[in-house]
Protein backbone atom coordinates (compact mmCIF):
# COMPACT_ATOMS: atom_id res chain seq x y z
CA UNK A 1 0.00 0.00 0.00
CA UNK A 2 1.47 3.40 -0.87
CA UNK A 3 2.19 6.09 1.70
CA UNK A 4 -0.99 8.04 0.96
CA UNK A 5 -3.12 4.94 1.27
CA UNK A 6 -1.46 4.10 4.56
CA UNK A 7 -1.93 7.64 5.80
CA UNK A 8 -5.61 7.67 4.94
CA UNK A 9 -6.02 4.25 6.51
CA UNK A 10 -4.30 5.45 9.67
CA UNK A 11 -6.37 8.60 9.81
CA UNK A 12 -9.56 6.64 9.39
CA UNK A 13 -8.60 4.25 12.17
CA UNK A 14 -7.88 7.13 14.55
CA UNK A 15 -11.42 8.35 13.98
CA UNK A 16 -12.85 4.85 14.16
CA UNK A 17 -11.01 4.14 17.42
CA UNK A 18 -12.32 7.30 19.04
CA UNK A 19 -15.78 6.42 17.81
CA UNK A 20 -15.45 2.92 19.25
CA UNK A 21 -14.53 4.21 22.70
CA UNK A 22 -17.51 6.56 22.58
CA UNK A 23 -19.87 3.81 21.51
CA UNK A 24 -18.60 1.50 24.22
CA UNK A 25 -18.94 4.08 26.96
CA UNK A 26 -22.25 5.55 25.88
CA UNK A 27 -23.63 2.12 25.09
CA UNK A 28 -22.82 0.97 28.60
CA UNK A 29 -24.54 3.96 30.14
CA UNK A 30 -27.60 3.61 27.90
CA UNK A 31 -27.92 -0.05 28.72
CA UNK A 32 -27.80 0.78 32.41
CA UNK A 33 -30.74 3.11 31.89
CA UNK A 34 -32.83 0.86 29.68
CA UNK A 35 -31.93 -2.77 29.09
CA UNK A 36 -30.81 -3.80 32.56
CA UNK A 37 -33.72 -2.24 34.49
CA UNK A 38 -36.11 -3.85 31.99
CA UNK A 39 -34.50 -7.22 32.58
CA UNK A 40 -34.92 -6.76 36.31
CA UNK A 41 -38.55 -5.97 35.75
CA UNK A 42 -39.05 -9.22 33.83
CA UNK A 43 -37.11 -11.28 36.34
CA UNK A 44 -38.99 -9.87 39.32
CA UNK A 45 -37.47 -10.76 42.66
CA UNK A 46 -35.18 -13.41 41.23
CA UNK A 47 -31.82 -11.67 41.59
CA UNK A 48 -29.95 -14.61 40.15
CA UNK A 49 -32.07 -14.60 37.01
CA UNK A 50 -31.51 -10.86 36.62
CA UNK A 51 -27.78 -11.39 36.89
CA UNK A 52 -27.82 -14.18 34.32
CA UNK A 53 -29.95 -12.17 31.93
CA UNK A 54 -27.70 -9.14 32.38
CA UNK A 55 -24.64 -11.28 31.65
CA UNK A 56 -26.25 -12.40 28.42
CA UNK A 57 -27.08 -8.81 27.53
CA UNK A 58 -23.47 -7.75 28.14
CA UNK A 59 -22.31 -10.74 26.08
CA UNK A 60 -24.45 -9.81 23.07
CA UNK A 61 -23.66 -6.11 23.27
CA UNK A 62 -19.92 -6.77 23.45
CA UNK A 63 -20.18 -9.26 20.61
CA UNK A 64 -21.78 -6.49 18.56
CA UNK A 65 -19.07 -4.08 19.67
CA UNK A 66 -16.32 -6.37 18.41
CA UNK A 67 -18.17 -6.89 15.15
CA UNK A 68 -18.35 -3.10 14.86
CA UNK A 69 -14.61 -2.62 15.40
CA UNK A 70 -13.87 -5.27 12.80
CA UNK A 71 -16.30 -3.68 10.33
CA UNK A 72 -14.67 -0.28 10.59
CA UNK A 73 -11.29 -1.87 10.07
CA UNK A 74 -9.66 -1.32 13.45
CA UNK A 75 -9.00 -4.97 14.16
CA UNK A 76 -9.24 -8.56 13.07
CA UNK A 77 -9.56 -11.47 15.44
CA UNK A 78 -9.63 -15.23 15.83
CA UNK A 79 -10.46 -17.72 18.58
CA UNK A 80 -9.12 -21.24 18.88
CA UNK A 81 -10.71 -23.80 21.16
CA UNK A 82 -13.88 -21.72 21.54
CA UNK A 83 -15.94 -24.77 22.46
CA UNK A 84 -13.77 -25.27 25.56
CA UNK A 85 -14.99 -21.91 26.86
CA UNK A 86 -18.59 -23.07 26.86
CA UNK A 87 -18.16 -25.98 29.28
CA UNK A 88 -19.80 -25.17 32.62
CA UNK A 89 -17.99 -25.01 35.95
CA UNK A 90 -14.66 -23.99 34.47
CA UNK A 91 -12.10 -21.70 36.08
CA UNK A 92 -10.87 -19.75 33.07
CA UNK A 93 -7.57 -17.99 33.45
CA UNK A 94 -6.19 -15.59 30.89
CA UNK A 95 -3.21 -13.31 30.53
CA UNK A 96 -3.96 -9.62 30.15
CA UNK A 97 -2.09 -7.68 27.51
CA UNK A 98 -4.70 -5.10 26.55
CA UNK A 99 -7.85 -3.18 27.47
CA UNK A 100 -9.97 -5.33 25.18
CA UNK A 101 -9.22 -8.65 26.85
CA UNK A 102 -12.28 -8.83 29.05
CA UNK A 103 -14.50 -7.59 26.20
CA UNK A 104 -13.27 -10.35 23.89
CA UNK A 105 -13.56 -13.05 26.51
CA UNK A 106 -17.10 -12.12 27.53
CA UNK A 107 -18.10 -11.87 23.88
CA UNK A 108 -17.27 -15.58 23.57
CA UNK A 109 -19.18 -16.68 26.70
CA UNK A 110 -22.90 -15.92 27.18
CA UNK A 111 -22.82 -16.55 30.92
CA UNK A 112 -19.75 -16.30 33.07
CA UNK A 113 -18.82 -14.74 36.38
CA UNK A 114 -15.77 -12.55 36.30
CA UNK A 115 -13.42 -11.16 38.91
CA UNK A 116 -12.53 -7.56 38.20
CA UNK A 117 -10.36 -5.02 39.94
CA UNK A 118 -12.41 -2.66 42.11
CA UNK A 119 -11.50 0.29 39.86
CA UNK A 120 -13.69 -1.19 37.12
CA UNK A 121 -16.74 -0.86 39.35
CA UNK A 122 -15.92 2.82 39.85
CA UNK A 123 -15.28 3.55 36.15
CA UNK A 124 -18.36 5.48 34.96
CA UNK A 125 -18.64 3.55 31.68
CA UNK A 126 -17.84 0.07 32.89
CA UNK A 127 -19.65 0.08 36.17
CA UNK A 128 -23.14 -0.28 34.72
CA UNK A 129 -22.51 -3.50 32.80
CA UNK A 130 -20.04 -4.81 35.40
CA UNK A 131 -22.34 -4.42 38.38
CA UNK A 132 -25.50 -5.64 36.64
CA UNK A 133 -23.61 -8.69 35.40
CA UNK A 134 -22.50 -9.30 38.98
CA UNK A 135 -18.78 -9.14 38.31
CA UNK A 136 -16.91 -9.74 41.54
CA UNK A 137 -14.46 -7.15 42.89
CA UNK A 138 -11.28 -8.78 44.19
CA UNK A 139 -11.62 -7.48 47.72
CA UNK A 140 -11.31 -9.52 50.91
CA UNK A 141 -9.41 -12.65 49.86
CA UNK A 142 -11.06 -15.08 52.27
CA UNK A 143 -14.55 -14.09 51.22
CA UNK A 144 -13.47 -14.14 47.59
CA UNK A 145 -12.15 -17.68 47.77
CA UNK A 146 -15.28 -18.84 49.55
CA UNK A 147 -17.65 -17.14 47.08
CA UNK A 148 -15.70 -18.29 44.05
CA UNK A 149 -15.41 -21.91 45.22
CA UNK A 150 -19.13 -21.96 45.80
CA UNK A 151 -20.06 -20.54 42.41
CA UNK A 152 -17.74 -22.99 40.67
CA UNK A 153 -19.17 -25.94 42.56
CA UNK A 154 -22.65 -24.80 41.56
CA UNK A 155 -21.56 -25.26 37.95
CA UNK A 156 -20.93 -21.67 36.94
CA UNK A 157 -17.80 -20.71 35.08
CA UNK A 158 -15.47 -18.08 36.45
CA UNK A 159 -13.10 -15.84 34.52
CA UNK A 160 -9.96 -14.43 36.12
CA UNK A 161 -6.98 -12.38 35.08
CA UNK A 162 -4.40 -13.32 37.72
CA UNK A 163 -2.05 -10.50 36.79
CA UNK A 164 -4.60 -8.20 38.40
CA UNK A 165 -3.85 -5.55 35.81
CA UNK A 166 -2.52 -5.34 32.26
CA UNK A 167 0.92 -6.78 31.57
CA UNK A 168 3.66 -4.17 31.54
CA UNK A 169 5.12 -4.50 28.04
CA UNK A 170 8.65 -5.82 28.07
CA UNK A 171 8.22 -7.03 31.63
CA UNK A 172 7.81 -10.69 32.58
CA UNK A 173 4.32 -11.83 33.45
CA UNK A 174 3.65 -11.62 37.20
CA UNK A 175 0.58 -13.20 38.68
CA UNK A 176 -1.08 -12.87 42.05
CA UNK A 177 -1.72 -16.07 43.98
CA UNK A 178 -5.48 -15.61 44.21
CA UNK A 179 -6.29 -17.63 41.10
CA UNK A 180 -4.22 -20.58 42.28
CA UNK A 181 -5.77 -20.37 45.76
CA UNK A 182 -9.28 -20.40 44.31
CA UNK A 183 -8.50 -23.28 41.97
CA UNK A 184 -7.01 -25.35 44.80
CA UNK A 185 -9.81 -24.51 47.24
CA UNK A 186 -12.54 -25.32 44.72
CA UNK A 187 -10.63 -28.36 43.45
CA UNK A 188 -11.26 -27.54 39.80
CA UNK A 189 -9.18 -27.66 36.66
CA UNK A 190 -7.82 -24.45 35.16
CA UNK A 191 -8.66 -23.57 31.57
CA UNK A 192 -5.81 -21.36 30.31
CA UNK A 193 -6.57 -18.83 27.58
CA UNK A 194 -3.67 -17.08 25.89
CA UNK A 195 -4.47 -13.65 24.52
CA UNK A 196 -2.18 -11.83 22.16
CA UNK A 197 -2.55 -8.52 20.35
CA UNK A 198 -0.35 -7.86 17.31
CA UNK A 199 0.84 -5.15 16.91
CA UNK A 200 0.51 -4.35 20.59
CA UNK A 201 -2.01 -1.67 21.47
CA UNK A 202 -4.16 -0.51 24.37
CA UNK A 203 -1.47 -1.74 26.73
CA UNK A 204 -0.45 -0.20 30.00
CA UNK A 205 2.27 1.84 28.35
CA UNK A 206 0.28 3.42 25.54
CA UNK A 207 -2.42 6.09 25.53
CA UNK A 208 -5.62 5.06 23.76
CA UNK A 209 -4.97 7.42 20.87
CA UNK A 210 -1.58 5.88 20.06
CA UNK A 211 -3.04 3.85 17.25
CA UNK A 212 -0.84 1.07 15.82
CA UNK A 213 0.51 1.33 12.30
CA UNK A 214 -1.99 -1.22 10.99
CA UNK A 215 -5.22 -2.90 12.12
CA UNK A 216 -4.33 -5.07 15.07
CA UNK A 217 -5.02 -8.77 15.27
CA UNK A 218 -6.35 -10.31 18.47
CA UNK A 219 -5.86 -14.03 19.03
CA UNK A 220 -7.46 -16.01 21.84
CA UNK A 221 -6.40 -19.60 22.34
CA UNK A 222 -8.16 -21.81 24.87
CA UNK A 223 -5.84 -24.70 25.59
CA UNK A 224 -6.52 -28.07 27.24
CA UNK A 225 -7.66 -27.82 30.86
CA UNK A 226 -4.90 -28.09 33.40
CA UNK A 227 -5.30 -30.32 36.45
CA UNK A 228 -3.65 -29.20 39.67
CA UNK A 229 -3.52 -32.50 41.55
CA UNK A 230 0.19 -32.95 40.96
CA UNK A 231 0.92 -29.72 42.83
CA UNK A 232 -0.64 -31.22 45.96
CA UNK A 233 1.32 -34.44 45.82
CA UNK A 234 3.92 -35.26 48.41
CA UNK A 235 1.77 -33.67 51.09
CA UNK A 236 2.54 -30.15 49.94
CA UNK A 237 0.70 -27.52 51.95
CA UNK A 238 -1.94 -25.45 50.22
CA UNK A 239 0.22 -22.38 50.63
CA UNK A 240 3.19 -24.00 48.92
CA UNK A 241 1.01 -25.48 46.19
CA UNK A 242 -0.49 -22.07 45.50
CA UNK A 243 2.99 -20.63 45.05
CA UNK A 244 4.05 -23.42 42.71
CA UNK A 245 0.87 -23.21 40.66
CA UNK A 246 1.30 -19.46 40.30
CA UNK A 247 4.91 -19.84 39.16
CA UNK A 248 3.83 -22.54 36.73
CA UNK A 249 1.13 -20.27 35.29
CA UNK A 250 3.55 -17.37 34.93
CA UNK A 251 5.96 -19.57 32.97
CA UNK A 252 3.16 -21.11 30.97
CA UNK A 253 1.69 -17.81 29.85
CA UNK A 254 5.03 -16.16 29.21
CA UNK A 255 5.95 -19.00 26.91
CA UNK A 256 2.56 -19.40 25.21
CA UNK A 257 2.12 -15.66 24.64
CA UNK A 258 5.58 -15.38 23.10
CA UNK A 259 5.00 -18.39 20.86
CA UNK A 260 1.57 -17.17 19.80
CA UNK A 261 2.87 -13.66 19.08
CA UNK A 262 5.70 -15.02 16.96
CA UNK A 263 3.34 -17.28 15.07
CA UNK A 264 0.84 -14.49 14.36
CA UNK A 265 3.60 -12.13 13.27
CA UNK A 266 4.96 -14.72 10.89
CA UNK A 267 1.50 -15.29 9.47
CA UNK A 268 0.36 -11.69 8.96
CA UNK A 269 3.83 -10.64 8.11
CA UNK A 270 5.88 -7.51 8.17
CA UNK A 271 5.95 -6.86 11.91
CA UNK A 272 8.82 -7.58 14.26
CA UNK A 273 7.68 -9.52 17.36
CA UNK A 274 7.65 -7.61 20.66
CA UNK A 275 10.52 -8.81 22.83
CA UNK A 276 9.19 -10.45 25.98
Amino acid sequence: MNRLGQGIGYGWRVIATGLSFAIFGIGGVLMSLTVFPLLRLFCGSDARATKRASQRAVHYSWRFFIWFMKSVGILTWEVRGAERLLQPGRLIIANHPSLLDVVFMISRMPMVDCIVKPAILRNPFMRGPASWAGYIPNGDPERLIEDCSRTLREGNSLLMFPEGTRTSPGQPIQMKRGAAQIALAAEVEILPVTITVVPTTLTKSEAWYQIPSRPFHVTLTAAEPLSLTRFLQGGASRATAARHVTEYLEDYFTQSAAAQTAEVCARIGGIAPMPV
Binding site: D140, P141, E142, I145, R177, Q181, S237, R238, A239, T240, A242, R243
Partner: protein, 85 residues
Protein backbone atom coordinates in the same frame (compact mmCIF):
# COMPACT_ATOMS: atom_id res chain seq x y z
CA UNK B 1 8.24 -23.38 73.95
CA UNK B 2 8.67 -20.89 76.71
CA UNK B 3 11.00 -18.06 75.91
CA UNK B 4 10.82 -15.79 72.93
CA UNK B 5 14.03 -17.09 71.39
CA UNK B 6 12.65 -20.63 71.21
CA UNK B 7 9.45 -19.35 69.77
CA UNK B 8 11.32 -17.37 67.15
CA UNK B 9 13.40 -20.40 66.11
CA UNK B 10 10.32 -22.56 65.76
CA UNK B 11 8.50 -19.86 63.85
CA UNK B 12 11.37 -19.59 61.37
CA UNK B 13 11.11 -23.32 60.73
CA UNK B 14 7.39 -23.07 60.14
CA UNK B 15 7.73 -20.12 57.77
CA UNK B 16 10.33 -21.87 55.68
CA UNK B 17 8.43 -25.13 55.57
CA UNK B 18 4.97 -23.70 54.95
CA UNK B 19 5.79 -20.90 52.53
CA UNK B 20 9.23 -21.83 51.17
CA UNK B 21 10.61 -18.51 52.34
CA UNK B 22 14.36 -18.01 52.03
CA UNK B 23 15.63 -18.29 55.64
CA UNK B 24 18.03 -15.40 55.08
CA UNK B 25 15.04 -13.08 54.68
CA UNK B 26 13.54 -13.90 58.07
CA UNK B 27 14.38 -11.55 60.91
CA UNK B 28 12.44 -10.16 63.86
CA UNK B 29 11.79 -6.89 62.02
CA UNK B 30 10.75 -8.54 58.77
CA UNK B 31 7.29 -7.47 57.71
CA UNK B 32 5.17 -10.52 56.92
CA UNK B 33 3.38 -8.92 54.03
CA UNK B 34 5.94 -6.71 52.34
CA UNK B 35 9.17 -8.58 53.11
CA UNK B 36 8.06 -12.20 53.25
CA UNK B 37 5.27 -12.17 50.66
CA UNK B 38 2.69 -13.67 53.01
CA UNK B 39 -0.86 -12.76 52.11
CA UNK B 40 -4.00 -12.95 54.23
CA UNK B 41 -4.82 -16.45 53.00
CA UNK B 42 -1.35 -17.59 54.04
CA UNK B 43 -1.95 -15.94 57.42
CA UNK B 44 -4.95 -18.22 57.96
CA UNK B 45 -2.85 -21.27 57.12
CA UNK B 46 -0.13 -20.02 59.46
CA UNK B 47 -2.55 -19.71 62.37
CA UNK B 48 -3.82 -23.24 61.70
CA UNK B 49 -0.27 -24.56 61.74
CA UNK B 50 0.54 -22.70 64.95
CA UNK B 51 -2.56 -24.20 66.57
CA UNK B 52 -1.33 -27.66 65.61
CA UNK B 53 2.14 -27.07 66.97
CA UNK B 54 1.20 -25.41 70.24
CA UNK B 55 -1.88 -27.51 70.85
CA UNK B 56 -3.58 -24.34 72.02
CA UNK B 57 -6.75 -22.74 70.81
CA UNK B 58 -5.56 -19.70 68.89
CA UNK B 59 -8.11 -17.24 67.60
CA UNK B 60 -7.41 -15.70 64.23
CA UNK B 61 -8.39 -12.32 65.68
CA UNK B 62 -5.31 -12.41 67.93
CA UNK B 63 -3.23 -12.10 64.80
CA UNK B 64 -5.18 -9.36 63.04
CA UNK B 65 -2.79 -6.67 64.26
CA UNK B 66 0.31 -8.65 63.51
CA UNK B 67 2.68 -7.10 60.97
CA UNK B 68 6.21 -8.28 61.71
CA UNK B 69 7.81 -11.55 62.73
CA UNK B 70 8.43 -10.03 66.14
CA UNK B 71 4.70 -9.32 66.50
CA UNK B 72 3.98 -13.01 65.90
CA UNK B 73 6.62 -14.07 68.43
CA UNK B 74 5.24 -11.73 71.08
CA UNK B 75 1.63 -12.69 70.46
CA UNK B 76 2.50 -16.36 70.71
CA UNK B 77 4.57 -15.77 73.82
CA UNK B 78 1.65 -14.02 75.51
CA UNK B 79 -0.79 -16.74 74.49
CA UNK B 80 1.40 -19.59 75.68
CA UNK B 81 2.32 -18.00 78.98
CA UNK B 82 -1.10 -16.58 79.72
CA UNK B 83 -2.69 -20.02 79.83
CA UNK B 84 0.19 -21.42 81.87
CA UNK B 85 -0.18 -18.73 84.54
Amino acid sequence: MQNQQEIYEKLREVLVELFEIDPAKISLQANLYTDLDIDSIDAVDLVIKLKEITGKKIQAEEFKQVRTVNDVVETLHNLLNASAA
